[in-house]
């Protein structure tokens, strides 16, 4: 027996040849779409925008960010279409609730430039008559169409300015109406929206019991890896979601954001392994259950082997590049040395233990090849994957796991994002930041640290030897604060979070402390010398340096020359006061 829902899930990833639904249009018309789709707050926000005043809304974003889905949500909420209707390429509908027109364009990219310009023009005309327009477009065509449209209006339109206006809106993505050239638009760039918070909701939807109920009565239910995965996750939903969310959060914060479609592909593959329900046999039951276990599929493995099909999924490429299953994890000792599997969740404990003993039998008798053979190594990797997703962890152990798997500062970062932390913990972060800044700006700081001052020397970065450095200013370290700032999401009202910032009392603007920057500072403060910073962050650090130097420049007269002299015994501070014809030294 088959559960058509399983097939639907499998059609959402491109890891096998059956990928009918890996494009938006066909997904939407499936009867299951209604069950698993998420009402996005952004849709509510845009409907509110339309209701407040006539607007032209432009939606851009990566393929798979949910542009079409969002449009569908808005149109069906406004009762313009029914939930299973297909969208037209372009249509003008009548919204009864507002007694006004709504023009929508499903995808500008599929149209010729003339059509694009014509629809854009029509959108503004509808707006002029009190209606609204929602236009989906890729960025390139959007900018070209806009430029072309402006040209038809005035011959001396500043086309560069139009491009810059649009790019600025896409970058800031504030959701407000702004002018591009002469026209007011609301531009939403879905590629810049953090979709990580949608993951738990999405996962929850996929796991709705009524969608899985046909499996319950299936004859091979007991030996079906898919159904087993479903059951295992139902039992351990919270802990699994914690890790999955942390993983996607990590990708987002390290500039490797996934689109919703990519996330769906990953999750659906991890659940089903694209196994064909209809031909599953009862044989090899336990081996199958282990090989196609969620913990393996999530990392792109079938049993101990990496699957080349799975590598078509972006999330799997990313998770493999992290080499999580080669790391030193909290339960390694228990499992590998003591052969104690009690730290695994009970749903996987027996299976893993049996698999391990069965496969390791040979090495128990003859341990000489234990370290040179590949098999034990691959087995250990599989056990690590199991413990990452289905280990029993105390709160501290959970933090340790994330620190080991990602980066030491990561669990702290997640906490800082979620909740206000104690003042004391912030002070510890401040100390770390100050130490890192000291090492970056001054270098050798032995002996100077006690003074609680951050010196600002004029330091060349192209030569090593600069034995005497001019001091341009100093900052009392008490003036350097790390603060948590609450960010209210415009589009997703329910997912406020805290952002970490460095604040200096003499500088009005604050400097965002992203995960990568925090990690960089943490590494430097720990004494790592070869830490390389992502180049876009280097510019951020350079700018911050420039701002600090400007604000904390010595205000005294230029006669006071303070220098830092590097001696064999460490740096010393020499103060030269130079007046007309005397030098006072101290």
């Amino acid at each position: 027996m088959t559960n058509p829902y399983v097939q639907y899930l499998q059609s959402m990833n491109n890891a096998s040849s059956t990928n009918d639904n890996a494009i938006a249009e066909s997904q939407i018309t499936s009867p299951y779409y209604d069950h698993i789709r998420i009402e996005r707050e952004l849709g509510t926000y845009l409907i509110k925008t339309i209701k407040e005043k006539p607007s032209v809304i432009l939606l851009t974003g990566h393929a798979g960010d949910g542009k079409t889905g969002l449009l569908h949500q808005i149109l069906s909420t406004l009762n313009v279409i029914r939930s299973q209707d297909n969208l037209k390429i372009k249509d003008v509908c009548y919204i009864e609730e507002l007694s006004s027109l709504l023009l929508y364009v499903k995808d500008m990219s599929e149209l010729t430039l003339q059509e694009q310009v014509a629809y854009l023009k029509e959108g503004f005309e509808v707006k002029a008559q009190g209606g609204s327009a929602i236009i989906i477009s890729n960025t390139g065509p959007l900018i070209e169409a806009f430029k072309e449209y402006e040209k038809t209006i005035s011959s001396n339109a500043d086309l560069d300015a139009i491009e810059m206006d649009i790019l600025k809106m896409m970058d800031n993505n504030g959701g407000e109406a702004k002018f591009v050239g002469q026209h007011e638009v609301v531009l939403i760039n879905l590629a810049r929206i953090d979709n990580t918070d949608l993951v738990p909701k999405l996962f929850e939807k996929i796991l709705q019991p009524d969608l899985w109920s046909p499996c319950q009565t299936c004859s091979v239910a007991g030996s079906c890896p898919i159904y087993n995965n479903y059951n295992t996750i139902r039992e351990n939903k919270e802990s699994v979601i914690t890790f999955i969310e942390a993983f996607y959060r990590w990708l987002y914060e390290t500039d490797k954001r996934l689109t919703i479609r990519q996330i769906l592909a990953h999750l659906t593959y991890s659940l089903t392994g694209n196994l064909d329900c209809g031909t599953l046999s009862i044989k090899k039951t336990e081996e199958n259950l282990f090989n196609y276990h969620f913990a393996n599929l999530f990392f792109g493995y079938i049993g101990t082997k990496s699957s080349s099909d799975a590598l078509k999924i972006k999330a799997i490429q990313e998770i493999q590049s992290l080499r999580i299953d080669e790391k030193e994890l909290p339960h390694n000792y228990n499992i590998f040395v003591r052969n104690d599997f009690s730290k695994l969740k009970k749903e996987v404990r027996y299976m893993s233990e049996k698999f391990w003993f069965n496969e390791m039998r040979f090495y128990n008798r003859n341990s000489s090849n234990l370290h040179s053979d590949e098999k034990p190594y691959l087995l250990r990797k599989a056990m690590r994957r199991m413990q990452v997703l289905f280990g029993e962890y105390s709160y501290e152990e959970q933090e340790l796991l994330l620190a080991k798997v990602f980066t030491p500062i990561f669990p702290k970062y997640l906490k800082l994002r979620e909740e206000l932390i104690k003042k004391r913990e912030l002070r510890i972060l401040e100390k770390m930041v100050v130490r890192a800044l000291n090492l970056i700006l001054v270098g050798n700081i032995e002996g100077l640290q006690a003074e609680e001052v951050l010196y600002l020397p004029l330091k060349r970065n192209d030569v090593d030897v600069q034995s005497v450095q001019l001091l341009l200013g100093k900052v009392n370290t008490t003036e350097i604060l790390v603060v948590q700032k609450e960010v209210e999401s415009k589009f997703d009202g329910k997912v406020n979070f805290y952002k970490l910032e460095i604040k200096l009392s003499k500088i009005e603007e604050s400097f965002p402390l992203s995960l990568l920057l925090l990690d960089y500072f943490d590494n430097i403060a720990r004494g790592s010398v070869s830490t390389k910073l992502n180049p876009s962050l280097t510019h951020g650090v350079d700018k911050m340096k420039a701002k600090i130097y400007k604000a904390y420049k010595f205000k005294e007269e230029a006669e006071e020359v303070k220098v830092l002299v590097q001696t064999l015994k460490g740096p010393i501070l020499v103060n030269l006061e130079i007046d007309d014809n005397k030098i006072y030294v101290d």
Binding site: T60, G61, H62, A63, D65, N138, T139, G140, I143, D160, E163, M164, L167, K168, M170, D171, N189, L190, A191, R192, L458, R460, N461, D462, V465, Q466, S467, V468, Q469, L470, L472, N534, P535, S536, L537, T538, H539, G540, D542, K543, K545, A546, K547, A558, E559, E560, V561, V563, V565, V574, L576, I578, N581, K582, I583, Y584, V585, D586
Partner: protein, 510 residues
């Protein structure tokens, strides 16, 4: 015959050497890339007038006389300060006794001015060493040169030195004079340098100054204000360095005690700038915009100075490129085809190598459009071969050397020379073509690179530029363009905003 800028009254162009006739007076083989910047800044900060002292100007300006006279400018030599900073670090063989004594006298006098602290026991010598090391730490050009020809980074106006070349015999002779340590002799010791040899500061900075000044005359006055104040700020933000430099030179002048308050070659020297071809103004607007964007960036002072130096070299090469094809063909048609593929078999490599060869050819060929005969007639023992050989050194070979010095042309040695880009050059392009804080589509950025410098990287610009010629390799440019995109990303200037739309941004907004 070229039209000169400024329009000098008594200028007889055909008497100049052919390369000067075409490219202006003058771009010379021995000037290092950094000395273009330094010489330009010397002209910028110095007081100026016309050669007959009719008009005058207080410095930190882009003054050029309009009365048909040459531009005169008056740098301050500050030999005492220069000696204090560089003498102990220079080649032993070039430390002459007379300067050794002058240095000792200077340092001795300075020690008498030091009031030590009661808390700490620094020796007076230590304090002087600290002052010397502090300033020497900003050295820019040292190497094998004598102390008088070394240079610092331009972190304050007092640290920008003009050229001073000591003659071996003169220095030795000065040391043998009987009353050598008398005050009067110190004046001579400082004055007996050759300030007008144009060996290192060979007028390339003057050429660049004239180009910027002319460009500013043709653009809106707000640019002049922005650039003048931007450069001034770059040079004056660190007052302590001004103060300490001034003090050291002033104390030396106390010792020298020159009775003449305004002594030529001691308190100031007089230099005159010549002319450039008027054609350079054709890229004037671009030059102005590029400088303007760069000086407005919020950058570390060292970084800004370095990038400015590189920008000047790029612009000088562009000016020569422009002048070459304008002279030969009447249009600015020579592209800079950049190879980023890093693949010796790629068709792009071949096109880029050919294109660069053509560029050098054009730059050299343009010299043949000068009035060579008049020059040969005027100069004794001069003939065609000699004149053209010298011209090659100051034209295509100069471009090659300058471009290689900033790694704009690779490889440094060996065949297959072509244009390429490294991280520093990418930074210059982004910071000069995009205003600080602004962003552009990647495609627009490519277009701007082409507009300003005729840089060709992608297929679109290639198709546009080579419209007449058959170009079969357009698709190969995609690889080149992708490599550029990757390079920009690695340098932190490019981001993907959404579906296949990349933007390039200049993040250094103040």
């Amino acid at each position: 015959m070229i039209k000169p800028y400024p329009p000098l009254k008594d200028l007889i162009i055909p008497e100049k050497n052919p390369q000067t006739q075409i490219y202006g007076q003058r771009l010379y083989k021995d000037q290092t890339h950094y000395e273009y910047l330094l010489e330009f800044l010397v002209v910028f900060i110095s007081k100026k007038s016309d050669a007959n002292y009719v008009d005058s100007d207080e410095g930190f300006s882009f003054f050029v006389p309009t009365n048909g006279k040459k531009l005169a400018y008056f740098p301050i030599p500050r030999m005492g300060l220069k000696r204090f900073i560089f003498f102990n670090h220079s080649d032993q063989e070039k430390r002459f006794n007379i300067d050794k004594e002058a240095m000792a006298t200077h340092r001795n006098y300075l020690t008498t001015l030091i009031n030590e602290s009661k808390k700490k026991d620094y020796s007076k010598e230590f304090v002087l060493d600290v002052m010397q090391d502090l300033l020497f730490g900003f050295n820019a050009i040292t190497g094998k040169r004598s102390w008088s020809a070394q240079a610092l980074l331009p972190l304050s106006p007092e640290m920008i030195f003009c050229e001073a070349i000591g003659n071996r015999e003169t220095r030795i002779k000065l040391g043998n004079t009987e009353n050598k340590s008398s005050e009067k002799n110190w004046v001579e010791v400082d004055k007996k340098f050759n300030f007008d040899q144009h060996a290192f500061m060979a007028r390339g900075g003057e050429v660049y100054y004239l180009h910027v000044a002319q460009s500013l005359q043709n653009t809106s006055p707000e640019y002049k204000e922005l650039i003048t104040s931007g450069i001034k700020e770059m040079l004056t933000s660190i007052e302590q360095l001004s103060h300490i430099s001034t003090f050291i030179q002033k104390q030396w002048e106390e010792i020298v005690d020159n009775p003449n308050n305004n002594d030529l070659n001691f308190h100031y020297i007089k230099k005159t700038a010549e002319f450039i071809p008027d054609t350079y103004h054709k890229r004037g607007e671009f030059t102005v915009k590029e400088i303007c964007n760069l000086v407005r960036c919020e950058l570390d002072p060292f970084e800004k100075i370095k990038l400015f130096g590189t920008l000047i070299v790029i612009q000088i090469i562009r000016l020569m490129t422009l002048q070459a094809t304008e002279t030969i063909k009447g249009v600015d048609s020579q592209e800079w085809l950049i190879d980023l593929t890093n693949n010796s078999k790629s068709p792009i490599r071949k096109i880029a190598v050919n294109s660069y060869r053509e560029l050098e050819e054009n730059i050299y060929r343009a010299v043949h459009y000068a009035d060579i005969q008049s020059y040969i007639d005027k100069i004794k023992n001069m003939n065609d071969t000699k004149a053209l050989e010298a011209a090659a050194k100051d034209t295509n070979l100069l471009v090659r050397r300058l471009a290689k010095s900033i790694n704009f042309v690779i490889p440094n040695k060996g065949p297959s020379m072509r244009f390429s880009l490294n991280e520093d050059l990418v930074k210059v392009l982004v910071l000069t073509l995009i205003a600080p804080g602004e962003r552009l589509l990647f495609s627009t950025f490519l277009k701007k690179c082409y507009e300003h410098f005729k840089i060709i990287i992608g297929a679109r610009e290639a198709a546009y530029h080579f419209h007449e010629k058959e170009i079969t390799h357009l698709v190969d440019f995609d690889e080149n363009e992708a490599a550029f995109q990757e390079l920009l990303k690695d340098c932190g200037f490019l981001r993907n905003l959404s579906d296949a739309t990349s933007i390039v941004e200049n993040p250094f907004k103040g």
